[in-house]
Amino acid sequence: MEEKVKEIMSRVFETAIDEINDAASPDTIEKWDSLHHLFLVLALEEHFGITFSEEEIVEMLNYVLVIETLKKKGVK
């Protein structure tokens, strides 16, 4: 699951896959702005067939939190 999330992030944020690590966040990734964050949400929802709540959307603001939120939603 983490590999897939990294792949999706690398495409959405237009960055190399190895830049996506536990430290990845809007501070370290240039294209991780509010618009691309929403693009990430759309891409993750489509791929994993899930729906995030508004709270989840605004709170999962770095790589670690994204993975945690997906796990909480039962994504394996």
Binding site: I8, V12, L35, L38, V41, A43, V58
Partner: protein, 595 residues
């Protein structure tokens, strides 16, 4: 390129990034600009991808959020700077009028009227300013009527509640669009209905990021825009080639016999009947129909000519290939007979094998596999939008009949030996006139569709041609052809630009159907005569080569023009009016020139 339906959003993002970095050589630049009071960015990757599939390299200008009138009125704004091909106006009523969208139940009649007028005036202001400042085609979203309106079930019972008022605003918008010219409405209610309001609107994304629609909706909306873009570029498909067995009727006529096939008002024949009615719709819209079937010819003709329940008859088909040859060869023959490009054809068959083979051997043909269940046939055809055009001229209405007449001419031609004698016997009547509001749409259609006999292939928009027609510097001419077999309607167009000393032929084109009869010689002779009568000293002809118009490379040179130069790939020719003239051919029964 993969079908966008098989790709996830992040895949599309990656694909577009790669294509932007290394676009195909053949991709033509296409500029799209957005005015909006919503976040519309999610549509951009889908739109760019679909554009690449149509061999377009799209660049998108997104005006700032809710900066509408300021961009529209300022001729130097970012909206106009790049001279976009189309300008999309994507507005939600929510930000234009909170009272009408969120506070409707509290309003009295006066307030409703006031808001309604204000919104319509705003739209009028935006569109007329865009029209004044640019030649771009305009695509404007209509306003969605809320799926759960302010008065609930009562809302739908009269025209003066929320649904009625928004509908009235949309009517106003349609009128504004039609008056502006080259401006078209995207019907968002119909679009939302097809998706279902739950799959269309995204409340969370709206609240969090002002993105009103779901990802799926954006994907479909991009496809909807492409129907318009294809129509603007004249890339809508022109011909539908159909299989017969289990396509036009249920069963196999060679085995079940004409009495055994399923076609009629009861199931399962009703599925095929509905499909035939949908095909007939296209016929009347001007789409050319052809049959490509593996059968004994007589078996199929028996059904077309004599089966009482058939809606489609032999007369509806401009070409038929009913034999045991492979379908790819047959389709090539059909294209040659009809004188149309493979890339303007759509092929439909219930057999996956046939569709796959045609798809592989003739990649320019759009080969579509009909679904397993025939009750889905009519819907598939209606949904595909491949034939969508923004013009429906008299020509379109009569196209099917004209192809019949052409087939009869060909039979007659075999009997005559001498070419001129044959042409004289056709009793051709030509009418050359100045463009008027009736002939203008057809002239524009010709400018966009004609590829082979087209000297400059300039795809002027309706707005531009209309300007030319109203200007004293230009002559916009139509040529109408009739002979003893029938009236072909307007088959030629010319645009002449007159200067202080000389004239230039901006456009000169003739539909393939009218070639081989010296009509082009007559047209050129008349254009030259018009320039001469104005006192011009010379006429300049231009040949701009494309992959489809090589046949006219020598056209001017062979008729007394002198080649003067080659610039940016185009060849220029000069006809000296003081030294020469062109005699029109004398094979015509009558030539009327109404200028």
């Amino acid at each position: 390129m993969k079908n966008v339906g098989e790709m996830q959003f992040s895949e599309v993002l990656a694909a577009v990034k790669e294509l932007d970095a290394a676009p195909p050589d053949s991709a033509v630049s296409y500029k799209i600009a957005f005015l909006r009071n919503i976040t519309a960015d999610p549509i951009v990757p889908y739109l760019k991808y679909l554009c690449y599939r149509d061999c377009l390299k799209a660049s998108v200008y997104m005006a700032d959020f809710n900066i509408i009138m300021q961009e529209a009125v300022n001729p130097e704004s970012g909206l106009y700077v790049g001279k976009p091909d189309i300008i999309v106006v994507a507005l939600l009523l929510e930000l234009l009028s909170e009272p009408l969208s969120r506070r409707f139940a509290a309003l009295n009649a006066e307030q409703i009227d006031g808001e309604k007028s204000r919104v319509i005036e705003f739209l009028e202001g935006v569109i007329t300013n865009i029209r004044k400042n640019s030649r771009s085609a305009i695509l404007v979203h209509s306003f969605e009527t809320p799926p759960y309106p302010a008065f609930g079930i009562l809302d739908f019972q009269s025209h003066d509640r929320q649904t009625g008022v928004i509908t009235a605003i949309n009517s106003g918008l349609s009128e504004i669009a039609s008056r502006a010219g080259n401006c078209y409405v995207v019907n968002m209610d119909s679009f939302a209905a097809r998706l279902g309001s739950d799959r269309f609107a995204d409340q969370r994304m709206w609240q969090v990021g002002k993105i009103p629609y779901t990802r799926e909706a954006w994907k479909n909306l991009a496809a909807e825009y492409m129907k318009f873009i294809r129509a603007f570029r004249g890339k809508n498909k022109k011909c539908l080639v159909l299989d017969c067995d289990n396509t036009l009727w249920g069963g196999i006529v060679g085995e079940d016999g004409p009495e055994g096939i399923k076609i009629g008002k009861t199931w399962p024949g009703s599925c095929y009947r509905d499909f035939q009615l949908e095909i007939l719709n296209l016929y009347h819209r001007g789409v050319i129909l052809a049959v490509c079937s593996r059968n004994n010819e007589q078996d199929v003709l028996d059904v077309l000519d004599r089966h009482p329940e058939m809606e489609l008859r032999r007369e509806h088909f401009a070409s038929m290939r009913i034999n045991w040859k492979d379908k790819a060869s047959n389709i090539i023959e059909i294209a040659e007979e009809l004188n149309i490009g493979l890339d303007s054809m759509v092929f439909m068959d219930d057999s996956g094998m046939e569709v796959e083979m045609v798809g592989r051997l003739l990649p320019e043909v759009r080969a579509i596999h009909l679904p397993k269940d025939p009750s889905g046939y009519a819907g598939l055809l209606a949904r595909c939008g491949l034939f969508d055009s923004l013009v429906h001229s008299e020509e379109d209405r009569n196209r099917g009949r004209m192809y019949r007449a052409e087939a009869q001419r060909k039979v007659f031609q075999k009997a005559c030996d001498n070419v001129d004698d044959y042409l004289r016997s056709l009793e051709i009547r030509i009418n050359i006139s100045r463009a008027d509001k009736f002939s203008l749409p057809r002239i524009v259609q010709l400018l966009h569709r004609t590829n082979q006999f087209n000297l400059t292939t300039r795809r002027h928009s309706e707005a531009v041609v209309s300007d030319f027609a109203g200007s004293s510097e230009y002559d916009v001419l139509s040529l109408q052809y009739e002979d003893r077999f029938g009236d072909m309607g307007i088959v030629g167009a010319a645009i002449l630009l007159h200067g202080a000393e000389g004239s230039e032929i901006d456009s000169l084109l003739l539909s393939c159907r009218a070639l081989g009869r010296k009509v082009e010689d007559l047209f050129l002779a008349e254009c030259i005569r018009i320039c001469s009568q104005r006192g011009e000293k010379h006429v300049t002809g231009i040949y701009a080569p494309t992959s489809k118009n090589m046949q006219v490379a020598d056209f001017y040179e062979n008729r007394g023009f002198e080649k003067t130069e080659v610039k940016d790939g185009a060849s220029f020719f000069r006809f000296d009016l003081e030294k020469a003239a062109i005699a029109p051919p004398d094979i015509f029964k009558s030539v009327k020139v109404e200028i």
